[in-house]
């Protein structure tokens, strides 16, 4: 018999429940409030009292109200049909809810019950299989969606029967497996998994090394992220975190994109589901929405569900990775998740850590980032979860717990800077403070040399040195004045400005400039570095500025023109003429 309880105390969404039997940490329960059942999660137990966080408003809840425990932790339902859905943080399908307003206790099923899927078997009768192994596949929005041995199955099984190719609903059995005890178990297309437990059904998790092209120059060229890599984007409000993440999610060369809107604006989610159905995936030509899942816990939705939302998204990502797919997971903003933890920890009157965040914040963040990665599955196929989170530091000050703890675990750091944003130098990623640790991996270097060119990393490093030198000179000119420094300082400075304007800056709202494929990035970097290596003749610093401004203008026109179009080449030949004038 399942455990029951009654409400004893209420402070906002923390409710104390006196229980009549066993409960476990993180167990889900439902509190009945005048006929409506509110979902809640156990977060602390003292004696007969279970402290639960309610995923809904507790308005009207009374002492004495009844509670039923479910015996399981917070789970998601996994199966075909998740792509292009809009979920809330608990994986309720938002489109299935009635009415304009969200109603308390309205929980909707994550998948489609009646839809028929085109199924074909992969395994064979007699195969020995274990959790995560592929039994068959269905076509989900043109992705090969693998039907796997449920992740919770322990030990080895023998495939006894397999359904023939055909159309099935998610509830129909597609396989019969026999366990070591000789018992037969039916398997259909759906399974459940507790979101806070990582899925580790892979053979090996090597260091990631394959470039994940994002189409953003200041990432791919300057500080690349890799398939299965981790990165984070801290920045004060309004500096471009969301625009950058949306850009990456549109352009990245991924099979599946999962966007967790975690405590951010509803309008930003609306933007995704308004635009993505019309936008083309630049790599496949299919509609972007077909490969996308949105998990939306916007800032006005209940705080406890905000914490759940990132785990819900990560678990879905792990599910698709187990199919051998490249998954890109974005969370905007991980600070809101940390704040949700802080609110709860304060209500529990736990001893606070720095800035009143919970003491174990560091462990929570690193465990979460640890779930991303590039893996070899048991059958030798590869899959990956690339995770990029934004961080919203209080007062824009990076010396705060969420930024500092994230920096310890994320391998790419894209620091958005107020000053660059104010100057409209978008994307406002500071080119000097930001880094990608992957550039230091020899296996990445080998890969990128093979993919782009032998001297690529050398050029990237030259570019960074020039940017640094340019910054130093700008500071000197500020102190000494334009004519207080040698003429060649001006030239060096303007060469760094050229790099900034042409390579780093990119207009996210221009149809052409917003996406820059890697071959185009190579073309532009080669060209810009050539210019930087050229000696120009000038008679005074004024000439330097005028000349480089003209040059920057022409380069920008190139960036705005379709690659290798007539326009593109005509600006290029103008540029070559201009260069020849002084070279």
């Amino acid at each position: 018999m399942s455990t029951k309880g009654i409400v004893k105390g209420i402070v906002s969404n923390l409710v104390i429940v006196e229980v009549d039997g066993a409960v476990s940490q993180n167990e889900i329960c439902y509190i009945t409030l005048s006929g409506t059942k509110l979902m809640a999660e156990v977060i602390k137990v003292i004696g007969k009292n279970a402290y639960v966080q309610v995923f809904e408003s507790t308005r009207g809840l009374r002492v004495g109200d009844e509670v039923e425990f479910t015996g399981h932790m917070l789970e998601v339902t996994l199966g075909p049909g998740m792509l292009s859905k809009n979920y809330d943080g608990l994986q309720n399908d938002l489109d299935k809810m009635d009415g304009v307003f969200l109603k308390r206790g309205d929980y909707t099923f994550a998948l489609d019950k009646d839809k028929l899927w085109d199924y074909s078997p992969i395994a064979k009768v007699g195969d020995t299989v274990k959790a995560g192994d592929w039994l068959g596949e269905v076509d989900e929005n043109f992705q090969p969606h693998k039907i796997m041995v449920p992740f919770v199955f322990e030990g080895e099984y023998t495939v006894k029967e397999l359904a023939p190719a055909g159309k099935y609903t998610i509830y129909e059995n597609i396989a019969t497996l026999t366990n070591a005890q000789g018992e037969d178990i039916q398997v259909n297309m759906i399974q459940k998994w507790p979101v806070k437990r990582p899925v580790t059904l892979y053979k090996e998790k090597p260091r990631p090394f394959k470039l994940l092209e994002t189409g953003v120059r200041t990432i791919d060229t300057a500080n690349p992220i890799v398939e299965g890599g981790t990165g984070f984007i801290p920045g004060p409000f309004g500096t471009g975190k969301t625009v950058l993440q949306h850009g990456i999610s549109k352009q990245a060369e991924a099979d599946i994109v999962i966007i967790a809107a975690c405590g951010e604006r509803a309008n930003e989610v609306v933007e995704i589901f308004t635009e993505f159905p019309h936008l083309d995936d630049p790599h496949t030509g299919r509609k972007l929405m077909e490969r996308t899942i949105i998990v939306a816990n916007t800032s006005n939705m209940p705080v406890a569900a905000r914490e759940a939302s990132v785990y819900t998204a990560m678990t879905m990502a792990e599910y698709y990775r187990s199919m051998g797919l490249k998954v890109l997971l974005m969370a905007d903003s991980t600070s809101r998740w940390a704040q949700a933890l802080r609110e709860m920890s304060n209500r529990l009157e736990e001893l606070p850590g720095p800035d009143a965040f919970p003491m174990d914040l560091s462990a929570i963040i690193s465990n979460f980032y640890g779930r991303a990665g590039f893996v070899y599955l048991n059958n030798g196929a590869t899959g990956s979860i690339t995770f990029i989170g934004t961080v919203s530091p209080a007062g824009g000050n990076l010396k705060e717990p969420v930024t500092e703890n994230t920096k310890k675990v994320a391998r790419c750091f894209y620091a958005l800077e107020q000053d660059r944003a104010d100057k409209k130098r978008y994307p406002a990623i500071n080119p000097i403070d930001s880094y990608s640790k992957y550039l230091e991996y020899p296996e990445f270097e080998d890969y990128i040399k093979d993919l782009i060119s032998e001297d690529w990393i050398e050029k990237v490093n030259e570019m960074k040195n020039r940017l640094l030198r340019g910054k130093e000179i700008a500071e000197q000119i500020n102190i000494l004045g334009d004519d207080g420094v040698p003429l060649e300082y001006h030239v060096t400075f303007w060469k760094s400005e050229l790099i900034d304007f042409v390579i780093l800056q990119q207009d996210a709202f221009d149809a052409i400039d917003s996406v820059c494929p890697i071959d185009r990035q190579k073309y532009m970097l080669d060209f810009v570095i050539d210019v930087c290596r050229t000696d120009f003749q000038f008679n005074g610093f004024l000439e330097v500025m005028d000349y480089f401004k003209k040059m920057i203008n022409l380069f920008k026109q190139m960036n705005y023109s379709e690659y290798k179009s007539e326009n593109f080449y005509s600006f290029e030949s103008e540029l070559k003429k201009l260069i020849a004038e002084r070279a």
Partner: protein
């Protein structure tokens, strides 16, 4: 609010703090309203048979044997067309001498709109102020605050924007407003002959500060009625949200919560977001746009209130006195409307985005030149031209007394470009230069 027969009465208060009192009571719901010797209060905590009430007017003079009556409902407002033209206090009671409003009683602070039932905002709100329409275009369904020091004319600009915007209803939520400012708004609206479209919920500095906590939810409950039921375009003005946050901190600190930055509660982000996220565009045409004021102290935007606000709203507007031209301008560097890209170049002329960016970039060059000059360095010819441009740009476009249409703003900008610069210096797409450059 009179006690009804079935309401339970309690008289044993066990604990009193400045804003709360605790008593033994049963059958009480979370968030429920009560009266304590006639003063309105709300349940904020229940522990077994102990109920803690937040008393809106403060607990001064409350005795331990005060009569506590639970009302069986959360704070609510009666909504109907009759709200139009009326003035209310924080509890939704009329303060204009008129009758009680009849209508459906709705609990305030109600549920959120399902994101999939929203529509992407796409309707430009023209204000005539170029610092807004050109650089920081507003869109229906947007939420945006003025970040301003107390001595800046934000209430005037807000009133101007409200009157020029094409809306069906304007709802004013005043929190900790001085009586003078309240009368100012009342005057402006009545002089403009629009009182019948205005609904006001007023908490002045003369009213208890905790009462303010009800104002935004009252205003937004009324807004939701008109936007959802009547498909109207509603503009909600909330001034000043810093006073609101101060009231929050008073209550939470007195309830022994661990304060976070600047003695604000750790939940400040969620508390503010719950209000601002009520801004919405519905597919049926109704919308709620929120223009708020967040007053700053000494221009400090790293303070927890403006900082959290900036992370929630869709941009912010800064006013600044430009001493070079002696006018108040909308600061183009720090102001931002995040929704502008939904309309500029789409609902306005194609050159809008590029013209806007180019002008701000040149204005930034002028600021650099000015620093150079102040540091005693020689200016280049380009520096001088940017500074001349900056003056014209400030007077003809950024100043809050400008009142022209968007296309005219763009034309003025092109004029200034050609007057002071060459096309290469302006850095705009060639095809636009070919089309719009003034020869």
């Amino acid at each position: 609010m009179a006690a009804k027969a079935f309401q339970k009465i309690f008289t044993k208060i066990t604990q009193i703090t400045k804003a709360t009192c605790t008593l033994k009571a049963s059958g009480v719901g979370n968030d429920e309203l009560a009266t304590v010797n006639g003063r309105l209060a709300q349940v904020v905590k229940i522990a077994n048979d102990e109920v803690t009430l937040q008393v809106f007017t403060g607990t001064e003079g409350i005795p331990t044997d005060a009569e506590v009556i639970f009302l069986g409902k959360a704070p609510s407002l009666k909504v109907s067309e009759l709200l139009a033209g009326r003035f209310f206090n924080a509890y939704g009671d009329p303060i204009d001498g008129g009758p009680e409003v009849d209508g459906e009683e709705i609990e305030i602070g109600g549920p959120s709109v399902n994101p999939v039932r929203r529509k992407q905002p796409s309707e430009l709100i023209a204000t005539g102020i170029a610092g807004i329409d050109l650089n920081n275009t507003l869109v229906s369904g947007q939420k945006i605050p003025f970040f301003a020091d107390p001595d800046q004319p934000f209430n005037q600009v807000m009133a101007m924007v409200a009157l020029r915007a094409k809306t069906d209803k304007i709802i004013l939520g005043a929190m900790g407003m001085t009586n003078d400012d309240y009368l100012y708004f009342k005057n402006v609206f009545s002089n403009a002959g629009v009182l019948d479209r205005i609904i006001s919920f007023i908490n002045t500095t003369e009213n208890p500060s905790v009462e303010r906590l009800l104002i935004p939810d009252m205003a937004l409950t009324a807004a939701e009625y008109f936007a959802v039921e009547k498909n109207e375009k509603v503009l909600v003005l909330l001034t000043d949200m810093t006073s609101y946050a101060e009231a929050l901190s008073i209550v939470s600190n007195r309830m022994d919560q661990i304060p976070s930055k600047d003695s604000m509660p750790g939940s400040l982000y969620s508390d503010l977001a719950k209000i601002y996220e009520k801004a919405v565009q519905f597919p049926e045409g109704g919308s709620i746009t929120i223009i708020a004021v967040t007053s700053l102290s000494g221009g400090d935007i790293t303070n927890a209130v403006p900082d959290n606000t900036g992370y929630i709203t869709e941009g912010q507007l800064f006013l600044r006195r430009d001493s070079d031209v002696g006018k108040v301008i909308v600061d183009p560097f720090r102001s931002l409307s995040r929704l502008k890209q939904l309309v500029i170049g789409k609902k306005t002329r194609e050159d809008h985005p590029q013209v806007m960016n180019a002008a701000v970039r040149l204005y930034a060059d002028a600021a650099n030149a000015k620093t150079k000059m102040e540091n005693g360095f020689d200016l280049t010819n380009y520096d001088e031209r940017t500074m001349a441009f900056a003056k014209d740009y400030s007077t003809q476009l950024l100043a809050i007394d400008v009142n022209i249409g968007v296309t005219e703003m763009l034309d003025v900008a092109w004029n200034l470009f050609s007057e002071h610069f060459t096309p290469e210096e302006v850095n705009i797409k060639q095809e636009l230069v070919n089309k719009y450059w003034k020869k």
